[in-house]
Symmetry: C2
Subunit: 557 residues, 2 copies
C-alpha cells in the first residue's frame, strides 16, 4: 500500500521527472512573492524576528553546549543560539534511524521528501529573511534564490533520485529454460541501500540553494543527513532541519534522519567528522582548498564538491553592443559577484569587438562597461537591491588590496566604493571594481576572487582569447563560460572549448537572461568535468552514486 | 539521420534495456555450443591455433617492441607475440579520436558497440579456446563464461549506458513566461562528454567477463579505452581489441578508440600509465592490494575496482541436506574456486544443522561435504571438466602451504591432490582442499585464498555464525553470501546482515543454480558497498559516473 505522502506528491514527482527529461521551462514553486500571500513579506519578517533573543529549539541528542549566530552583513545582531550536539551522538542516532528508512522504499522516501519541501515552501518568506541576514543577499534575491529556486533544485534531486531508484525493480522472477527439464525458477528481491551517513557542509553565500540538492538526493536514496552549516549562515539551514525533522516525525519516521551540527569559526568540526568511518557521503560547497581537503582525506566517503573557479567571458563580436553592456553590468553587479557563476575574467582581443556600427577597441569596452555599471547603480535604492551586502569582511579586504594594486599600476577601469544603504546604515555594501590586467599578469586573472571584482584582459587575437579561457577553465575550473560572437566559426570554436573544459556555455546574452541564473529541471549547474566542481546539479551520477543495490534470491515455490 | 549500426541494433538495445528494468531471465547470446554451428568447437580450435608461432597483428602507433604470451595452464606453449606500444602514443591517438566519437552521439555509439559485440559473438569459440588456455578454465566454462556470459555483460553495460545517456535530451527550448512581456526563449544543447581516456586492467582468471562491462560502459559513454590485459591472459583481450578496432574503422571511426597495451610480469606498466593526467577512468579487477593502489594513487581518475573478498556460507537448517551437499560440492569445485564468487568460509554452529530427518553436527557436515566433493570428482573426465586447471603456480604453492598447516594441526577434512588430465599431461589440476578451522583462528578464515581452498568454522550458535559472517564481509569484503535456513527468523536476520554488509544473498541453493553463477540483465555482480568491489556490474552509478553533460545556450530566434 502506498504511503499517503507518496500518494499526495506522486503527480508532482512525475511532473518533475518529465521536466528533467525534456529540460524545458518548469518550476514547482512560485518565484512571485504575491503567490505567498499579500502580507507574506511582512509575515516572514515577523516569523524571522521571533527567533531573536532565543534558543533555537531542536530536540537532538548529545547536546554539549550552544553556539551563537554571527551578525548579519546588514548590521543586524542575530541573537540566536543553537544547540551544539556531539557528532557521535548524531551519527549514532542517524544509524539507528536507517533500517526503517531503507525498508520504507523509494516511493515513500520520495513522498516524505516532497512533503518536507512543501513545508519549506510554506516558510519561504521566513527563510528568505534568514538568507538575507546571513548571506547579504537583497531580500528579493534571498527570496527567489534561497526560496523557490533552492526548493526547485531540491525537488529536482528528489525526482532524479526517485527516477534512478525506480529503475531497480523491487522483485523479479527469473525463469531460465532448461531444455526438456522444468525451468529454473528463482525469486529475487532488490533493495536500495544507502552509502552511509551523509555529511552536508553548507556554504555562506547560498546556504539553501547549495545545500538542498545534496540534502534531498541523500535523503531520498536512504542516507541520513547531518547538516553542518557555515558558521556565518546557520539560520536558513536550522529552519530547514527543524522542518525536515518535524515532517519525518509526523510521517512515522525517526527525525534523526536529518540533524543539525553547528560549530563556530574558532573550533571547526567538519574535518574531524568527515573522516569518521560511518560517514559514507560528503557534500561540500566552498573554497577550492576546503573542498580538496575532503577529497584527499575523507577516503572512506564519496565526496561531492562545489568549489571555486574562474569563469570567463570572451567578447569577439556582437549584434547588440549596448544590450551586451547592460547584461554584463547586471551580471557583474548581482549580489556583488558573490556567486559561483559570476564571470571573473573578460577577454577581448586588440583587434576589437566587431559590431554592426563598427569596431570597438578593448579600451573602449573597458570604459563603456564601467559606465554601464555606474549607470545601473546610479539610483541608490536600486543599487542596494542589485548589490546586496558583502557577506564576509574578507571580501572587503580583498577589494581594498586590489584597489591598491590597481592604483599603483594605473589599471583601475572602475573603482569600487562603499554604498550607503538607506535602511541598514551598518550594511557592508561596495560597488564593483573593474580592473584592466595585462595578459602577462597571470596570477591576477587566473585566481578566483569572490566578490565584486573582475578583470578585462587584452589579448592579441580572438583565438588567443579562447586559448587563454580554455587554459584558465581547465586549470582553475569554471561553472560558466560566456561568449559574445556572431561569427559561426568562432561559435564552433567556443563549443569545442566548452566541451574540452567541461563548462556550460552561453552565447550572446543581451536580454533578460543572466549567466548567473541557473534554472532547475533545465540547466545543469556545474559539470563535474573541471576543477570547479566534482558534481553536477543534478545529473544521474549525483544521485546514482549515493546508493547501492543489494539483492537476495531463493528458489521460487 | 540514424547511423546504420544503430538502426541494425536498436531493437536489441531496447530489449536489453527492458530486461535490465525488469530483471527476469533474458540473454542475447546463446550459451548452447550448437548454436554456433555443428563444427564450431573444432573451427574455434583451428582459428585459435592459427595465432601460434606468429606475431599478433594490430596496426597501433608507437610500437617499441614485442611481448610474448605466457604458457597455458594446460601446458600448451602459446607462441604468440604482441606489439608493445608506447602508452603515450596510445593516449595521444585516443585523444585524437575523441571529438568525432563525442559528436557521434549516444545512439551511434551504442549501435557501434552492439556491432562490436556481434562480431565478438561470431568469434566466440576462438575466444573460448583462448580463455581456456590462459585462465585454465575447462573449454565448456571458458565458452560459456568467457563467451556469451561476458558478451551479455558487455551488452548490459551498453544498454545501461545508452539508457542513462538518453535521459539527457540533445536539445531543449526553454520558454519562461515574463508576465505581460514576451516570454524569454532560450535554445539549449546538451552534449554527453567523456571523463577522459579509460584504462582497463584485465585479470587472469576471467579476462573477458571481468573486462567487457567496463570496456563497453566506457566506450558507449564516449571514453576511448586502453585495454591492458594481465600478462598471463593477453590473447582473449587481444582478439577483442582487434575486433573492436576493425569494427570502428569500418563504421567510419578512428580505431584508436580501443587499443591494446601489453606488458610482462617483469616490467609492469599499469601504475605508470594510471597516474597520467589524461587518464580519466580506471577499471581494475584483481587482488585487493592491487586495486587499492589505484584507488589511492590515481587521484585524477574515477577508479572502479573489483577486488577480492571472503565469501561466506552460513548453514543453520535445510529441507534438503543432500541437495545442499551436492550444490556446495559443485560450488567449491567449479574452476577450482578461482572465481570472485566462490565461498571461502562455511560457518556451522555446534548446535548442528536442523533437517527433516534430524540434526547434523558440524563434524558430520565436514565429513559429508568432503564425501560429496569426492563423489563429484570420482570420474576423472568429469573432474577435469569441473575443476579446469589452476591458473597460477602461486595457487598451487598456496594449496601446499595450507595442506602442511592442516596436517600439523590435524584439521584437514578433505585433502587436495593432483588430478591427471587425460588430454593435457602437463596441466596444473588439483582437487579441492577442505579445512576445519577453529573460530579463534581468524587469520585463517578471514583471508581470501583464491583457489580450491575452503574452511568449515564451528561457531557456538547460529547467531554467532551470522555475526562472524557479517564481520568478515564488512572488513574483508564479499561478493556472495549463501545461507541455508528454513527458519523465517534466521532468514530475516540473514537479510539484515546482507543489507548491512552490502552483499548479494542466496537462500537454500540445493538445485541447479550455483552461487558462482551471476546472470547479466538480472543479477548485480558486486554492490560497491563493501571492500570486495567499488563497483557493481552493472548498476546506474557504473555507467553514469563515466560521463558529464556540457550544455550551451543562446536566445532562440
Amino acid at each position: 500500500m502506498a504511503h499517503p505522502l507518496f500518494e499526495k506528491h506522486q503527480e508532482l514527482l512525475q511532473r518533475a521527472l518529465e521536466a528533467i527529461r525534456n529540460r524545458g521551462y518548469w518550476s514547482a514553486y512560485s518565484e512571485n512573492p504575491k503567490s505567498y500571500g499579500d502580507d507574506a513579506i511582512e509575515e516572514g519578517r515577523r516569523a524571522f524576528s521571533a527567533y531573536f533573543d532565543a534558543q533555537f529549539y531542536l530536540d537532538q541528542p548529545g547536546v554539549m553546549g550552544r553556539v551563537n549566530a554571527a551578525p548579519s552583513p546588514y548590521g543586524l545582531a542575530l541573537d540566536i543560539s543553537y544547540p551544539q550536539c556531539s557528532p557521535d551522538a548524531l551519527i549514532s542516532a542517524a544509524k539507528g534511524a536507517m533500517p526503517a528508512w531503507i525498508r520504507a522504499g523509494a516511493d515513500t522516501r520520495a513522498g516524505v521528501c516532497a512533503e518536507i519541501l512543501a513545508r519549506i515552501n510554506a516558510c519561504t518568506m521566513e527563510i528568505a529573511h534568514a538568507v538575507m541576514h546571513t548571506t547579504g543577499q537583497s531580500l528579493m534575491m534571498a527570496f527567489q534564490s534561497g526560496g523557490p529556486h533552492a526548493q526547485d533544485r531540491g525537488l529536482e534531486a528528489v525526482a532524479q533520485a526517485w527516477g534512478e531508484m525506480k529503475q531497480v525493480p523491487g522483485t523479479a522472477l527469473w525463469e531460465k529454460p532448461q531444455g526438456k527439464n522444468a525451468p529454473l525458477r528463482i525469486e529475487k528481491r532488490f533493495t536500495v541501500v544507502p552509502r552511509g551517513v551523509a555529511l552536508l557542509l553548507g556554504c555562506a553565500t547560498s546556504p539553501t540553494l547549495a545545500a538542498y540538492p545534496a540534502l534531498f538526493a541523500s535523503l531520498a536514496t536512504a542516507n541520513p543527513v547531518i547538516v553542518k552549516p557555515h558558521p556565518a549562515a546557520i539560520l536558513p539551514l536550522a529552519i530547514t532541519v527543524a522542518l525536515a525533522r518535524q515532517t519525518l516525525k509526523e510521517s512515522g519516521f525517526d527525525p534523526s534522519l536529518v540533524s543539525l551540527l553547528v560549530d563556530d569559526s574558532g573550533t571547526p568540526v567538519a574535518k574531524d567528522v568527515a573522516v569518521k568511518p560511518d560517514i559514507g557521503l560528503i557534500d561540500c560547497a566552498g573554497r577550492a582548498e576546503y573542498g580538496e581537503w575532503f577529497e584527499e582525506n575523507a577516503r572512506q566517503a564519496h565526496v561531492f564538491t562545489q568549489k571555486s573557479g574562474v569563469n570567463c567571458v570572451v567578447i569577439e563580436s556582437t549584434g547588440d553592443y549596448k544590450g551586451m553592456l547592460r547584461n554584463l553590468a547586471v551580471t557583474l553587479s548581482l549580489h556583488s559577484g558573490q556567486t559561483a557563476m559570476t564571470p571573473r575574467t573578460i577577454l577581448v582581443s586588440s583587434e576589437g569587438i566587431k559590431t554592426p556600427e563598427g569596431t570597438y577597441s578593448p579600451e573602449q569596452l573597458g570604459r563603456d562597461l564601467s559606465l554601464a555599471i555606474s549607470a545601473l547603480l546610479e539610483d541608490n535604492a536600486r543599487a542596494v537591491e542589485v548589490l546586496g551586502a558583502i557577506q564576509s569582511p574578507d571580501t572587503v579586504t580583498r577589494i581594498d588590496a586590489l584597489r591598491e594594486l590597481g592604483a599603483e599600476s594605473g589599471q583601475i577601469l572602475r573603482d569600487s566604493s562603499p554604498v550607503p544603504h538607506p535602511q541598514w546604515p551598518e550594511a557592508r555594501v561596495h560597488s564593483p571594481l573593474l580592473l584592466r590586467v595585462e595578459v602577462s599578469d597571470r596570477q591576477l586573472y587566473m585566481e578566483e576572487r569572490l566578490g565584486p571584482i573582475s578583470c578585462v584582459v587584452e589579448t592579441a587575437t580572438a583565438s588567443e582569447s579562447f586559448a587563454i579561457a580554455e587554459r584558465i577553465m581547465r586549470e582553475k575550473g569554471a561553472v560558466t563560460f560566456s561568449v559574445y560572437s556572431t561569427n559561426p566559426v568562432m561559435q564552433q570554436l567556443a563549443e569545442d572549448v566548452a566541451i574540452r573544459a567541461g563548462v556550460a556555455l552561453s552565447f550572446n546574452l543581451t536580454g533578460g537572461l543572466f549567466i548567473t541564473q541557473s534554472a532547475a529541471f533545465s540547466d545543469y549547474h556545474g559539470t563535474g568535468a573541471n576543477p570547479s566542481a566534482s558534481a553536477s546539479l543534478v545529473d544521474a551520477a549525483f544521485v546514482a552514486s549515493r546508493f547501492h543495490v543489494v539483492q537476495s534470491c531463493r528458489h521460487a515455490g
